[in-house]
């Protein structure tokens, strides 16, 4: 049995009986360790080296506590809230200080700058009523 075969996990159950040892021995030539004994060691080292940043990121994520998360939120949320409150206060203050518009009654508004007399006044006057022509409109 080759070195590669010894390291390979031995399967449980009856499949091993079905495993053709001739075929297994032949296929063992495809194992890179058949010609390069350090192949799997190097492979393993390379994978772990490439995986190091992702593993570090995962460790960092685990280290972050709830308090850390809240603190990080507070760093942005509190100044924003303070700024918003200040803006709202400023707008409110400016709103109070503005001059209020003068109140004008409807009647007064209708008569303002209108010359002449009103319809009842005109009807009551003892004036000769000039002939009136009515225009008819057809629709």
């Amino acid at each position: 049995m080759s070195e590669a075969d010894k390291r390979r996990p031995v399967p449980e159950g009856t499949d091993e009986l079905d495993r053709e040892m001739d075929m297994a021995s032949l296929l063992a030539a495809l194992d890179p360790a058949a010609v390069d004994r350090q192949f799997w060691v190097r492979f393993h080292v390379r994978v772990l080296k490439d995986a190091a940043p992702e593993l570090a990121r995962r460790r960092l994520m685990i280290q972050l506590t709830v308090e850390d998360v809240m603190t990080s939120w507070a760093r942005t949320v509190i100044p924003t809230a303070v700024l918003a409150a200040a803006l709202a206060g400023l707008l409110l203050f400016r709103g109070h200080s503005a001059p209020s518009p003068a109140l004008v009654g409807v009647e007064e508004l209708l008569l303002a700058e209108v010359e002449g007399t009103t319809i009842p006044g005109t009807l009551a006057a003892d004036e000769v009523i000039a002939p009136v022509s009515f225009a008819s409109e057809g629709f």
């Binding site: 058949a34 393993h44 490439d50 994520m61």
Partner: protein, 194 residues
């Protein structure tokens, strides 16, 4: 169950620890499955250097997507699915690039003592023989006969009935023997490998 077995962490245990960034746990997962990953990758790509790249990349992809592994105790099957997909993508990319196949003699980069040379020759013959059988047959024969996977495990991985896996295995071996019989692979080489 022996004491040793009861102390050995399951894949599920290791996956849960690796999710927390425990390098040792991830290292154990790699150690357990690197051979099978390589075998699957080789059965898809047919080229050792591509198989190595695909297997390595697959472990990194698996680590990044570890939360997507819904059944950590079935890590092996999930992992091999990633390996298959990565390997197929690699084959597609290589096909688009039109890369030339590297001769087997240039792959090892090792001094070539007699046995190593014979193994390299046999490897070349095997790679050629394997390239002539369907991908699913290659995966089954390599996982079963090289990596010692059970029919049930292969069936789960390939989403095939266990009986179909047995049948594929039978035809794969038969086809491989036929292909090998056409070459000058001697019994000496086989004996030396043992």
């Amino acid at each position: 169950m022996s004491l040793k077995e009861s102390r050995e962490p399951t894949d599920g245990d290791l996956v849960r620890k690796a999710r927390k960034g425990e390098a040792e746990a991830f290292g154990l997962l790699v150690e357990r499955h690197q051979r099978a990953a390589y075998a699957v990758a080789l059965s898809v790509t047919g080229r050792p250097e591509d198989a190595e790249d695909a297997a390595q990349e697959s472990f990194l992809v698996a680590l990044e997507r570890l939360e997507e592994c819904r059944s950590p105790d079935r890590f092996a099957g999930w992992m091999m699915t990633i390996v298959r997909n990565r390997s197929r993508n690699l084959v597609r990319r290589e096909a688009l690039r039109g890369t030339e196949q590297v001769p087997a003699s240039a792959r090892t980069g090792e001094p070539t003592p007699d046995v190593a040379t014979e193994i390299s020759e046999l490897r070349q013959v095997l790679e050629t023989a394997l390239s002539r059988i369907p991908e699913v047959h290659r995966q089954i024969v390599m996982l079963h006969d090289l990596e010692g996977w059970k029919h049930r495990e292969i069936a789960q991985l390939l989403e095939l009935p266990s009986g179909t896996v047995r049948s594929h295995l039978h035809f794969a071996r038969k086809a491989l023997r036929q292909e090998l019989s056409k070459t000058a692979v001697g019994a000496d080489t086989i004996r030396k490998i043992r």
